[in-house]
């Protein structure tokens, strides 16, 4: 049942990605087969922190099928030294010196030490077994406390210390005054545990260097082909135009697959050295141990509040554990700082942060990387409500900025124009029917059943109000190119690199509506650095606004171009040309109709058009985000906690979200549900655990790093609030990250509510059964 709609935009059009995905004919990086292709495997460090005292690869080099064995020092000779992609996401913090394969020392379990390239992955792994590496172990630095100890051995000698950044104290508003005026100060130390992105497809790359042309072609599972190109061309000392990066279908990422990793650089160098294609597919052990981890942050918070529940100010100290190698850990705290007031009228804030280096996998971006601001704030609201004996939603409604009343700006400066926190809170409160839930809860408690209700609210800058400044935010404007092909179809080239977000459907919906052709006639091309416009790729929930907007403006520009061409061909004014149903005609003269295919061919026939219009019918457009706007919403969870076993069951989950105008409701809902599921998993199941003595990683399989299944995730009820257009045309806003940002506090709040008869205060985000039993005092805290 294909959806027939007046307009595609706003309809749950079936995805154009699905025919290939559902028949097993998608093309993921692991499916790429090139003639003469070799297979890479890495010898990785079995210890967290050590000096390398000896490497012997002689036996490995002689092993069957082995073509190349490279140590870090050998590899380095073919590379241009430098921080690579690390500097791009450091936020200006110092970037330590390190090599692509470890040299001198290893800094985390899984650190790549030797590259083996062989005729098959089996043979490459066999040979890895034959490489001998001697390590002289150093004490592992596994916690921020250990990293702060001046006696801890510096993980990076050039940094001199394991404290990477100690920020100045940023002060917004009259913080001292707020704390002086407060009736009470509510304090809490809050901890967020180490998560993993864990996309179902691990990282992977196939590098193919052609010695004739000097060109490197790279098939990559990535969120953006141009960042990979930049990283690889820089590391290999190749001009960017000699590097072509291709990406096909991508099996999820959630922030992990940004730019070229150290393994990718090693494979590219090996391919150049061998003049043969080299492929590396990460396995799950490597992925969980080394690829990247996220979220481990702790906070000391003090809130100045009145007895009526007004939040006058916050004092926040944040510590972030960036792991061993630079990822995104030093860029995020400033975002957390800016965002922590959320949609609330909090009048004063002081914020300082510390980033430390430890012997853990690198801190990487993960779906809503700055999400701790929401977790901390929404946790604090409930702790404040508990202290004051108020309903948490009352505290929220008392403090959120409404659309009617000032201040319309966060104390940190961002405009709150168009925020609908109050509306979404009221929507979820009415859906769950708070008074009747409280009665149900009281009744259940009499029978020894512990139900809880939690709510939370958030906003996400996707892209955030741009206040006429445009510019597309920190990642710049979004470019797009559209071409009318000679068969009359439209090809849209975008730098977005979808990995589950369905952009090949949504951009086609927008362009088809604007240009006036059936959606089947719009083809969306992604994943070729030679073909698509330069851009960041997919991330930061920016595709809906930025690339959706670019699709709209690009289709409009193409339509104008087509009319201009038609006006020459028909010798009529452009304003008299009509485009509909795949053809152009002079208004009121149906006999003049010419199909788009004919028009495209005519444009290429010599002499029919002035030089400025002749040739390919193609336009480029850029979109700067227009007026932008917030995404956001409020979620509610109802849980039942079994106080015998510590098990938490999510009975009901309710969402009121506002991402502006929906392009495709089914796709939006898929993004929301997927994010919520990750948030539920993060609280109840997932955790990256290290042995703090030895630095060994203890969560290296899916039996240890446990992901939620269909049995743990409930149906998720979603209400859409499509409010407040800010821009004349483009009011689609990003929705990819929100679920993962808001689900953890929603669930933590529900669990604390369920456990309120025990006086439990939830101060950390990971709440597996053992922690629940500790919270209720059934077992001692450990």
């Amino acid at each position: 049942m294909q959806h027939i709609a007046e307009r595609y935009t706003g309809a749950s059009v079936r995805r154009s990605e699905d025919p290939r995905i559902l028949t097993g004919s998608g093309r993921y990086v692991d499916d790429v087969r090139l003639p003469g292709m070799l297979h890479a495997a890495f010898v990785r460090s079995p210890v967290a922190h050590a000096r390398i005292t000896r490497i012997d690869v002689r036996e490995a080099a002689k092993a069957p099928g082995v073509v190349l064995v490279l140590t870090g020092e050998e590899l380095e000779r073919s590379l241009v030294p430098g921080p690579g992609i690390a500097a791009m996401f450091s936020g200006g913090a110092p970037v330590p010196a390190f090599t692509t394969l470890a040299t001198g020392k290893v800094r985390v379990v899984g650190d790549p030490v030797v590259l083996v390239v062989a005729e098959s992955r089996y043979l490459a792994e066999d040979a890895c077994e034959l490489v001998e590496v001697d390590y002289e172990e150093l004490p592992a630095v596994m916690t921020p406390q250990a990293a702060r100890d001046p006696a801890s051995p510096a993980i990076f000698e050039d940094l001199g210390s394991n404290v990477l950044v100690r920020s100045p104290v940023a002060v917004f508003g009259d913080v001292d005054g707020a704390f002086a005026r407060a009736d009470r100060i509510v304090r809490a130390d809050l901890r967020q545990h180490r998560h993993q992105n864990a996309p179902m497809e691990c990282r992977g790359v196939v590098c193919s260097f052609d010695p004739e042309s000097g060109e490197l072609t790279v098939h990559s599972a990535t969120q953006g082909v141009h960042i990979v190109r930049t990283t690889l061309s820089t590391a290999l000392g190749l001009p960017p135009e000699k590097v072509r990066v291709l990406a096909g279908d991508i099996g999820g990422s959630f922030g992990l697959k940004l730019g070229a990793y150290r393994e990718d650089v090693a494979c590219a160098a090996a391919s150049r050295q061998l003049s043969r294609p080299v492929r590396w597919m990460e396995d799950r052990l490597e992925n969980l141990t080394f690829s990247g981890q996220a979220r481990e942050e702790s906070f000391e918070v003090a809130a100045a509040v009145t007895n009526e529940g007004e939040i006058l100010g916050l004092r926040v100290k944040m510590t972030i554990d960036t792991g061993a190698y630079p990822g995104m850990g030093t860029m995020l705290p400033e975002l957390v700082k800016t965002m922590i007031p959320g949609p609330y009228k909090i009048g004063a804030l002081s914020f300082e942060w510390t980033a430390v280096v430890t012997n853990k996998a690198a801190y990487v971006a993960y779906r809503g990387p700055w999400a701790s601001e929401t977790w901390v704030r929404e946790r604090m609201v409930d702790l404040i409500a508990m202290e004051l004996g108020m309903e948490p939603i009352q505290v929220r409604l008392r403090n959120v900025a409404t659309r009617e009343t000032p201040p319309r700006r966060m104390v940190t400066g961002r405009s709150l124009a168009g925020v609908t926190a109050k509306e979404s809170l009221e929507a979820i409160a009415s859906t769950v029917d708070l008074p009747s839930f409280r009665r149900l809860q009281a009744g259940a408690r009499e029978h020894g059943r512990y139900l809880g209700l939690g709510m939370a609210t958030y906003i996400e800058p996707a892209p955030g109000p741009l206040e006429g400044k445009g510019g597309g935010g920190i990642m710049g404007p979004e470019q797009i190119r559209l071409r009318l092909a000679e068969d009359g179809t439209v090809t849209l080239f975008t730098s977005q690199m979808p990995h589950g977000q369905s952009h090949q459907t949504t951009f086609a919906q927008i362009a088809a509506d604007e240009f006036g052709v059936p959606i089947e006639q719009v083809r969306v091309v992604v994943g070729d650095s030679d073909l698509v416009p330069m851009g960041f790729g997919t991330g930061g929930s920016r595709a809906a606004t930025m690339a959706g907007g670019a699709s709209l403006h690009g289709a409009r520009a193409l339509k104008a171009r087509v009319k201009e061409i038609a006006s020459h061909l028909f010798e009529a004014g452009a304003e008299d040309i009509e485009l509909s149903g795949g053809s152009v005609a002079v208004r009121g003269v149906p006999a003049s109709a010419m199909s788009l295919a004919e028009l495209a061919r005519a444009a290429r026939s010599p002499g029919r058009l002035p030089p400025s219009l002749a040739g390919d019918v193609e336009v480029t457009a850029a979109f700067d985000g227009g007026e932008g706007g917030w995404s956001g919403g409020s979620h509610a969870a109802i849980v039942e906690v079994d106080v015998e076993t510590g098990q938490v069951r999510v009975e009901r989950y309710v969402v009121a979200e506002d991402c502006g105008i929906l392009i495709n409701p089914a796709i939006v809902e898929g993004q929301v549900r997927g994010g919520v599921a990750q948030g539920i998993g993060a609280v109840l199941l997932e955790r990256s655990v290290y042995d703090e003595e030895t630095g060994q990683y203890l969560s290296s399989t899916f039996m240890d790093y446990v992901l939620a299944t269909a049995c743990e995730i409930p149906r998720i009820e979603i209400e859409h609030l499509e409010t407040v257009p800010l821009d004349a045309d483009v009011n689609f806003r990003g929705v990819g990250e929100g679920g993962m940002i808001i689900a953890p506090p929603t669930l933590c709040n529900a669990i604390e509510d369920a456990l309120s008869p025990f006086g439990a205060r939830v101060l950390e985000q990971h709440l597996p059964p053992a922690r629940i039993l500790e919270l209720i005092g059934a077992i001692p805290a450990g």
Binding site: G24, R33, Y122, E201, G251, G670, R673, L707
Partner: protein, 159 residues
């Protein structure tokens, strides 16, 4: 290393190969037969992405050796729509927006095919239980469950 001959039926066609004893069925299908529709998400038996049907029963092709499939009748995702016409389950998944990135998809489709063969009209709880060995990191499962129920409904109304 010694190689062993393997003859089996894949998606209805006889196939043969010569493999080392350690070669997994997944690698045999993907590398030797070029059937890359079957995906590898963990290679340790937890995620279910590699699920295929062996003599009608779901099996994790990452945990099974190719030599163990000698003489077996193996079905993979490529066998669901042999002529490019999607089957009822695939159509239902398309209508339900079942999947996002698609990496878990082959395993789910094969697992569900086995479920519906055994229980053509499952309840939602039965569907969730039957899918509890397959991980999807993208969807939160609801759209997949909806797809199964829709496919079962469509089958029911055909009868």
């Amino acid at each position: 290393m010694t190689c062993f001959d393997v003859e089996l039926t894949v998606n209805g066609a006889p196939r043969r190969g010569s493999v080392e004893a350690r070669r997994t069925l997944a690698d045999f299908l993907r590398e030797d037969l070029g059937l890359t529709g079957t995906h590898l998400g963990c290679e340790h038996g937890v995620c279910g992405a590699c699920t295929v049907l062996v003599d009608g029963e779901p099996a994790r092709s990452c945990l099974m050796l190719a030599v163990q499939a000698r003489g077996a009748d193996v079905r993979t995702v490529e066998g669901l729509a042999p002529d490019g016409e999607m089957n009822r389950l695939q159509e239902a998944m398309w209508d339900s927006h079942g999947f996002q990135c698609g990496f878990c998809t082959p395993g789910f489709l094969m697992q569900i095919t086995a479920l519906l063969a055994e229980n053509p009209g499952p309840t939602e709880a039965e569907v969730r239980e039957a899918l509890s060995g397959n991980i999807c990191r993208c969807t939160g499962y609801e759209s997949i469950v909806n797809g199964v129920l829709l496919a079962a409904d469509a089958a029911g109304s055909d009868e």
